[in-house]
Amino acid sequence: MSEPTLTTTGAELERTIESLLFLSSEPVSAEALADATGEELHAVVTAVERLREHYEFERRGLVLRELGGGYVLSSHPDSEPAARRLLARPRTPPLTPAQAETLAIIAYLQPVSRPEIARIRGVGAESAAATLLERGMIEESGRSQFGAVLYRTTELFLRLFGLSSLDELPDIKEFDPEPELEQELRERLLKAGEARAGS
């Protein structure tokens, strides 16, 4: 007799979680779902996984993903062309190179101040940082010991970039310049000049 009940409970829980994720505009953690439903964490995790599979295997128009520290529903990318026609709201506009560089520095070094960003880029980052703030991708995070505003990335940043946490960013080492390029830069800094100086 207990089996059907268990199955029902599983289905009920999946259903409730579907409702909750639909209503919530931000990612919801497994713990918060367990609190709201009064279920055990492991039951929640199982139900979430079933819901995710349902969307995937039944080719539904929704996708369940773990992003920005919780579960969140989104539309399926296959519907993007129709969504663009229906909604006046444009899809996430691309970043300019200056914005992308500023965001990359903040993402990897956070919390980081604007002078530090400028130091790495060689140029200021006022307008890029203002746009990133306005778009909700970064936020202020206190002040440095010298009084400069510090920035960090937001939960929305993770969500927009499809990351469940900052750990999912590739190691910065992966972006190391090729050894040949490093060698070339080194030579240009010293040897090329020395050759001229010696001549």
Binding site: R65, S74, D78, R91, L103, R121, F161, L181, L189, A197
Partner: protein
């Protein structure tokens, strides 16, 4: 354009940018003596002249000049930081190299983020207010957590009309190399003249552009110059062949 091609003519140094860098790093030129603003002006002129912007080289220049500015400001700071600034040339070079590598790294990371954002943009999220029943429940639980003063203060800030910026003193120099070439050729036709005469009452950018024009004349074999001593007067005159050509054209 490559940075190697950036030719400078500063008070303390004339030659290519990378040579200047080397001499600074080997402490053969005192960074304190170098007018970095002039380097920037020369670079901008160079860009203008070429009419193209190579982002790679531009970034490299910006990172290097920013690093030099920082080194210089550290040198200018008196007292306590004395031991930090005892950079030996090798260390300074390593620091500059580290800056360049960092700039490359974050540019690559930026490309990665841009690609990632594009790839994710088909996943759209729902943004909607809570249904009325939940909103009512929410209202019951609402406590006064925000201060109304915040709003009045924000309005006060928004009412602030910024001081109109007086830009009259910033003349926008619109001098071109072609104009300065014509100017120099006119002076050449009259005979020899000094560089100071050629740039009398001119602003810094015009001086820089005139210098480029002069280099161009030299390259074309139209003019040559003599400078008796460092910082001395530069006397410019037409080359014998140019003079001969002009005479035959006139005759």
């Amino acid at each position: 354009m490559r940075l190697v091609d950036l030719e400078l003519d500063l008070d303390v140094f004339a030659g290519p940018f990378d040579l200047l860098l080397t001499l600074i790093l080997r402490e053969e030129i005192d960074l304190l003596e170098v007018d970095l603003a002039e380097v920037v002006v020369a670079y901008i002129d160079h860009l203008e002249q070429r009419g193209e912007l190579d982002l790679e080289a531009a970034t490299e220049f910006l990172v290097l000049i920013a690093a030099l500015l920082e080194l210089k400001s550290r040198l200018l700071l008196p007292g306590e930081e004395q031991e930090i600034i005892e950079l030996d040339p090798g260390e300074a070079a390593e620091e500059l190299l580290a800056r360049l590598l960092d700039a490359h790294r974050y540019r690559a990371a930026a490309n990665h983020l841009q690609a990632r954002l594009a790839e994710q943009s088909g996943y759209r999220f729902r943004s909607a207010p809570l249904p009325p029943s939940l909103r009512r429940a929410s209202l019951q639980d609402a406590a006064a957590v925000y201060s109304p003063g915040t709003l009045a203060r924000a309005i006060g800030e928004l009412l602030r009309v910024p001081e109109p910026v007086d830009v009259r003193h910033i003349g926008v120099p619109k001098v071109t190399v072609a104009e300065r070439l014509a100017h120099l050729r006119k002076l050449l036709a009259r005979g020899r003249f000094s560089f100071d005469e050629a740039v009398a009452r001119a602003d810094r950018v015009t001086v820089a552009v005139t210098l480029f024009a002069l280099l161009e004349l030299y390259k074309q074999g139209e003019a040559t110059w003599i400078q008796g001593e460092p910082f001395g007067e530069i006397t410019i005159e037409a080359t014998p062949s140019a003079r001969a050509a002009r005479l035959s054209a006139a005759g």
